[in-house]
Symmetry: C2
Amino acid sequence: MILLETIQAAHDRIRAHIHRTPVLTNRTLNGLSGVDLYFKPENLQKIGAFKARGGLNAVLHLSEQERYHGRTLGPVTTHSSGNHAQAVAFAARQVGTMAYIVMPRTAPEVKKEAVLGYGADIIECEPTLEAREAGVREVMERTGATLIHPFDDDRVIAGQATAAKELIEDAGLDKPFDVIMAPVGGGGLLSGTALVTHFISPRTRVVAGEPEGAADAILSFKSGKVEKAPFIKTIADGLMTSLSERTLGYMREHVTDILTVSDAEIGAAMRLVWERMKIIIEPSAAVPLAVLLKNNERFAGQKVGIILTGGNVDLGKLPF
Amino acid sequence: MILLETIQAAHDRIRAHIHRTPVLTNRTLNGLSGVDLYFKPENLQKIGAFKARGGLNAVLHLSEQERYHGRTLGPVTTHSSGNHAQAVAFAARQVGTMAYIVMPRTAPEVKKEAVLGYGADIIECEPTLEAREAGVREVMERTGATLIHPFDDDRVIAGQATAAKELIEDAGLDKPFDVIMAPVGGGGLLSGTALVTHFISPRTRVVAGEPEGAADAILSFKSGKVEKAPFIKTIADGLMTSLSERTLGYMREHVTDILTVSDAEIGAAMRLVWERMKIIIEPSAAVPLAVLLKNNERFAGQKVGIILTGGNVDLGKLPF
């Protein structure tokens, strides 16, 4: 169970290893949307994404436990083609242990290089969930590595919660946010965001954005069961995963709503952030702003915080 | 004459109207360069560039003087195809007066739109210095507008100085910067940077970067006279201007060195910042980092502050 103290402890644990990213405002986007917007640019975070927070909290927590028992932490492992791979590799380097990252052989070279750059080993596999999970099992048997799941883990969720915590603490508002928005993939960031908002800003609603081309969370949120997306086809490549029972549970308790947007709407919001805010965000990170612009009458005149989740995008493959 | 008090007063005057941009660090770039780097990302500033600071200080100062005499400030004018046009339009809106911006008809539509967005009037002219100056004279005669020069003005220079002031104040160093770097075009930012560094961090050297394709400042700096560039051809379109006697004077007193880089080196440094720091900078803003990477043995192990001057770039015309 995640309490406020769990999140506070996570924040204290990771603080020295991460950037306290700023809160950005932009008058043009306020004017365009009619909404008072506060952005938390986690593209400026270590590894270029909020996932550094959750990966670090899990690995540092494990390391503390081992130290308590007079041992040092052995290797860690995960499977990921994206930001969580870099997060675990980065976190392992922080505590001086080995990371084995199972990556589909189709993952972009630039992401593989980043993982190698943190001193981790890559185990390539076929680009299927089965092959990835088999790869991780093989690593665990061979090396005794501990699995760091990208979202189905309370330590990871508590780490991700610190982004919204900083946003609420640093925005300098005289009254609470009306809404805080985050995208939803596996639901780790959204769960953490919803939990910490419930604890420290209980009058604030939490609204999630999801791509139409990976619309499993909105179905699961309504039915109460973990559902699969009817189809998967989106430029928001960080949001293709389904939820877990754990993240769905947190979301059903503390999230107000999930809204979907098309790839065209995501691409337009992404371009707007590049042009107007002068920061590089990946398609997944543009989903909440796309939702807000599509439904802006619903948010008119409100104070809305948006977590910009990451900036790891291939400059050679832009959707505009 | 610009004193420390002049710059402090400028900072107090503009503070409520600008963003206090953060100080960014990046372990990958530190590793690549062997230098301990601290970036001041003025691409995140109002109008997407540091020029908001100088334009604001000049216009607010004029407005205060008029108020002292019981009058309100009349219209202001300038000629610019770039960030100074937006800066003056933005500043005029802050004090509720009219701005007439003389722009070459070849200026990008997106820049014209930004100026119009601040409520200013655009007067189009031929893309020559003569036509631009004639355009401003015509506006001044017709409307009584006051000229805000982009760099040959102590109020503008004192405003630009506040970027380095914040960098020095916010970097949180236990000993002073070894070097602070800025690009040089007309020399307004560089003069302000060198002056404030001399006042509040006197053991810090100030080093400028200039494109090989607009290499007038390095000649002027050596000869002591305002020289023209042998040729003008660079992607750093914000740095094509020559110095004035005023800026050359400040530079000869307080700048240590000027180093030049090619367009290829500028483009590579720009891409590095996009990919590693996840922020959008324009070619001119990449010049100091390009200089540092080209001469990195000279800066090895030092603490270096770099002003990233702006992010107003056409996403359709990237040099990579």
